[in-house]
Amino acid sequence: MDLSLIIMQLLSGIALGAVLVITALGLTIVFGMLGVVNFAHGALFMIGAYAGLYLASLTGSFWWGLLLAPILIGAFGMLIEFLLIRRLYGRSIDDPLLLTFGLSYVLVEGVRIVFGSDGIPFPTPPQLIGVLDLGIGFFPRYRLFVILLVAVVLLVLWLMLEKTRVGLIVRAGARDPTIMQVLGVDIGRVWLAIFGLGVALAALGGVLAGPMRSVNPEMGSLVLAEAFVVTVIGGLGSIVGAVVAGLMVGVSISLVALFAPEMATIVMFALMAVVLLIRPQGLFGVKGRTA
């Protein structure tokens, strides 16, 4: 088989993985820090796409949509934490799971009522329409942009968590919230911010996916399943795990598509099964951690 074809295939796998990474990241951060399995993550991804589309058409520019939708939906996420999820801390892990599961239905139905259940076109920003000649083949400019943007977001996130005081508090809070409270940190505010960040990442994923897929109320359900698979492979709560697993899943799907295209969706679940058999806690997960 042609080498350039395999490289092109790898590149599409990385682009696919980039969106997976962004969505799985929000899920895994919220689980890792708050112990909340957010089943509304897919619905918030979808809401993000709608918000991005709406804001883009309002302002006339995709870039405003890309910037404002995660902020707006992130704030909405904080509202959800403040009004609903906060009440369930300290209870069984099933409680927030059921709450967010129900919330996802409310959100999807709400969008159906407001925007209708048909798909809506999300135009690619004019600067990124078309393909770039890479010498070995053509690749959509927009997908290259997505890879770059996700890389930048990851870098910022890493710097924030590892190099700042806020990051220190967040990491310490994830380890032992009680000690943090004893030390005089308002852990409630940290959790509020973390949930908002997780939701903002979901919304960012939605806006980024919008121009690649048509926007419709059900677009989040598949994404939720994919994000879960990625977090399970990477290890629940592990940020590095989400990044590695996201790219791994994207590239696996892409390479399998080359040889056995009809298996492209299944490979992700097969990968998860294998990882669970060999390392039940996931690639970068901590053993024995369930909540």
Partner: protein, 416 residues
């Protein structure tokens, strides 16, 4: 069966059952006229996937089916009896569809069933109706139920079938010596369309350079694109349905596929063109059963559009909507001819029926009950060529219906 042998009359009547019985009989006494009227209505079951990826098409089916019923009721019904449409959500799931259909027959006592959109659901509905001797008119584009194995005298197929659409599209888009690649949804619908295209391709003398099967309902098609491009075809046939069509075409266009090859689909979908916009679909060619723009060439289309506009605040009917209309309306015409819903008489009437509801003359072929009808080939217009928001397609061809378009009765396994 140990329990069913026990005498039901010996069973104790619980207080709850007695109360329920009492209130029910009281209700019947209170409303004797209403009860009788319900017995007199002609009920038509209509399973369709109101939730799921084909919801947009399903809703159009329902709107148009309701229109067909309304028009008949406005004229006094059938032999003085009102017609009622019972819409059920099959959730695009064969098991769900079978359960709902069974309920429609056993509990709601429907006189006939029309509907279904996906091939698997259509098979499930047909299983149930066939076993119970209830007429079923399918409006799914898959036609396996017309083959002798699944066929029964109660089975009718109003929609186009893969063989008809792919042949018509191939005639307009393929030439001898052209290279053709296929991207196909890996389930019955995709397989049937692929088979149709390959048959048409062989007849025309075009070469097959490759086929890629993709999982049903995939959101991302990017991973198939490099390989499709490397096949260097002149034409790419994308055989999938609903949102899969919109996503696959959109991503193919993102990868610059249109600069290298023409994109062709077996069935070009009105709602999916709306969902991704004119720039993405520009130049895509595909088959269709109906397009509202036909009204300039066909009086039936103009009448159908007018009736739909009047009932739906000026909106236009879509391709799948037209199926909902012609499926139900052809059944009602046959019931009118038969003087009521008696199954055997209606089957007979459907076989003899010559109808012209949306686009020109149609009839059900005797051997397999496939509706012989015209096939449209449409090309998606570019934005600047659109006269208004609904001006989506140009009519490339309008092939008049004939028995020659169908596979022969012998090929489908029917005795001739």
């Amino acid at each position: 069966m140990p329990k069913s042998g026990s005498n039901p009359f010996r069973q104790k009547i619980s207080r709850r059952a007695a109360l329920a019985g009492l209130s029910a009989s009281a209700a019947m006494l209170a409303m004797p006229r209403l009860g009788r009227a319900a017995d007199e209505t002609i009920r038509i079951g209509f399973p369709t996937p109101l939730t799921g990826p084909f919801a947009a098409e399903a809703r159009d089916q329902v709107k148009c089916a309701e229109l067909a019923v309304k028009l008949v009721n406005d004229k006094g019904g059938i032999a003085g009896r009102k017609v009622e449409l019972l819409v059920r959500d099959d959730k695009l799931n064969a098991g769900e569809a079978a359960t709902r259909t069974l309920e429609l027959i056993e509990k709601d006592k429907v006189h006939a069933v029309v509907g279904a959109l996906s091939s698997a659901v259509q098979l499930a509905v047909n299983e149930v109706t066939r076993a119970r001797g209830v007429i079923y008119i399918s409006i799914s584009q898959s036609d396996t139920i017309n083959e002798a194995r699944d066929f029964s005298k109660y089975t009718f197929h109003e929609a186009l079938n893969p063989h008809m659409t792919t042949a018509a599209v191939a005639r307009q888009t393929l030439k001898k010596g052209m290279k053709v690649a296929h991207l196909v949804a890996d389930y019955a619908y995709g397989h049937e369309m692929l088979r149709g295209f390959k048959r048409a391709q062989a007849a025309i003398g075009a070469d097959n350079v490759g086929e890629i099967l993709h999982p049903f309902g995939a959101a991302d098609y990017s991973t198939f694109m490099p390989r499709l491009m490397s096949m260097r075809p002149d034409v790419l046939c994308i055989s999938n349905f609903g949102r899969d069509q919109a996503n696959a075409i959109k991503q193919a266009v993102d990868f610059g596929v249109k600069q290298q090859m023409k994109i062709v689909v077996p069935v070009i979908l009105h709602n999916q063109r709306l969902a991704v916009g004119p720039d993405v679909f520009e130049g895509v060619v595909g088959g269709a059963n109906y397009y509202w723009g036909l009204e300039t060439q066909s009086k039936s289309a103009a009448d159908f559009n007018a009736a739909f506009r009047a009932a739906n605040g000026g909106a236009i009917p879509t391709d799948y909507g037209a199926y909902g209309y012609s499926g139900v309306a052809s059944l009602l015409l046959a019931m009118q001819a038969a003087g009521g819903p008696d199954t055997d008489k209606v089957v007979d009437a459907l076989e003899k029926l010559q109808y012209d509801l949306t686009k020109g003359p149609q009839h059900y072929r005797k051997c397999d009950h496939q509706s012989v009808q015209s096939v449209l080939v449409l090309e998606s217009k570019k934005k600047s060529a659109m006269a208004n928001d609904n001006d989506l397609f140009a009519v490339v061809a309008n092939d008049v219906g004939s028995d020659d378009m169908l596979r022969s009765c012998t090929e489908l396994g029917h005795a001739t």
